[in-house]
Symmetry: C2
Subunit: 249 residues, 2 copies
Amino acid sequence: MKRRDFVTKVGLGALAGGTLSAPAIKSAHAAPKVLKMVTSWPKNFPGLGTGAREFGELLEAASGGRYQVKLYAGGELVHPLKCHDAVQEGTADLYHSAEYYYKGKSISLAFFTAVPFGFTANEMDAWLLHGGGEKLWDEANADFGIKSLPCGNTGSQMGGWFKKEVNTLDDMKGLKMRMPGLGGDVLKAIGATALTLAGSEIMPALQAGTIDATEWVGPWNDLAFGFYKVAKHYYSPGFHEPGATLSLV
Amino acid sequence: MKRRDFVTKVGLGALAGGTLSAPAIKSAHAAPKVLKMVTSWPKNFPGLGTGAREFGELLEAASGGRYQVKLYAGGELVHPLKCHDAVQEGTADLYHSAEYYYKGKSISLAFFTAVPFGFTANEMDAWLLHGGGEKLWDEANADFGIKSLPCGNTGSQMGGWFKKEVNTLDDMKGLKMRMPGLGGDVLKAIGATALTLAGSEIMPALQAGTIDATEWVGPWNDLAFGFYKVAKHYYSPGFHEPGATLSLV
């Protein structure tokens, strides 16, 4: 696969460690190869979308002009939660997303984004890069012909936005909440309904009443969607994502 | 699981054979249990959406009021192509969809919708109900804890809508076309790009130039989306779906 070929050339270690120090691969005057990179984020979305764009620019620079990255916001080429399928099927070359969106394909993928009450950002990086996590991630993706790398971390996330006050566990019973991954499984265990929605789908669902509550990331990212206009209660911190790892595939 | 419990009660054979003859299960004055049924189709979409609704009504009648089916159009509760995840994760009880939308989870699922140059509608039914197909389908879904049944068939589909004329195989090279399932794999093998999009996503993608061509079903269904306004060439028949089976899960 050409994608793997590329990854090998710029150096797996450099990519994974986030230390892209321009390995001086010079173009032999060939036209650059265009790599399609799909993402789960709205166009230029703070942090998530801009991080993906900046990573693409780093990749272009590090390849000395051999590669160009064409970035697609969620929904431009494929649905924001279909990035894994898109690379598996060859519609795209790369994605920037979060693995827990794909837990329907394999439950183990969810562990590489976040575990409720689990690892913080530093602990996730330590596990993935030095504690054998990356090897387990490769095993989880082996059936799909995909190679994943950590590429950003949101840090500890907020508990989320709620239309009604939540004071006890009982207040969660029957609540319909947007929460992907293993956090969603915890919600179900305490009697709530958990839905996996892409970022761009959350606000319409809150307005339509499809959901009563949502988490997304944290204040900087949440502000852009304007959740505060519909759900007046914002709780912190979240139990579900103590350090959510974003993934590059 | 309650869903399985229900399926057992109304009789698997009756469901699969489409011969729901009201097995006279009477309610013991209990409140009806509401079953959430998600679909991949726009609201009241001809044939696909109305078929799902009518099946729900049959189910209610056959249960003698013990069950109510709450129908969700694609995107109302979950994305139209996330029905399989929704039932796997317990967000919904049933879905009406097409298995090839989920081939990213297991390639074998695609075979239970359609095989290019393969079975017609009658042949699909014969294989599924009497030739061991249903057993293979159960095996494909065993990892996901899901039970599927055939529930409708579109018959042989049209080749699709194209912005430019197609006269030779070479005209397909580089073409970006919406085509899910194994048909999409055939497109890729002849040098085109195949995308899996939900019905509601096709028209915006055609207009934006994300795709140059699309297939959907046939004239009755295609008319509702107005593809003819954007893509002037309509070819028939399709090679990709000689008899596409719809699925109830």
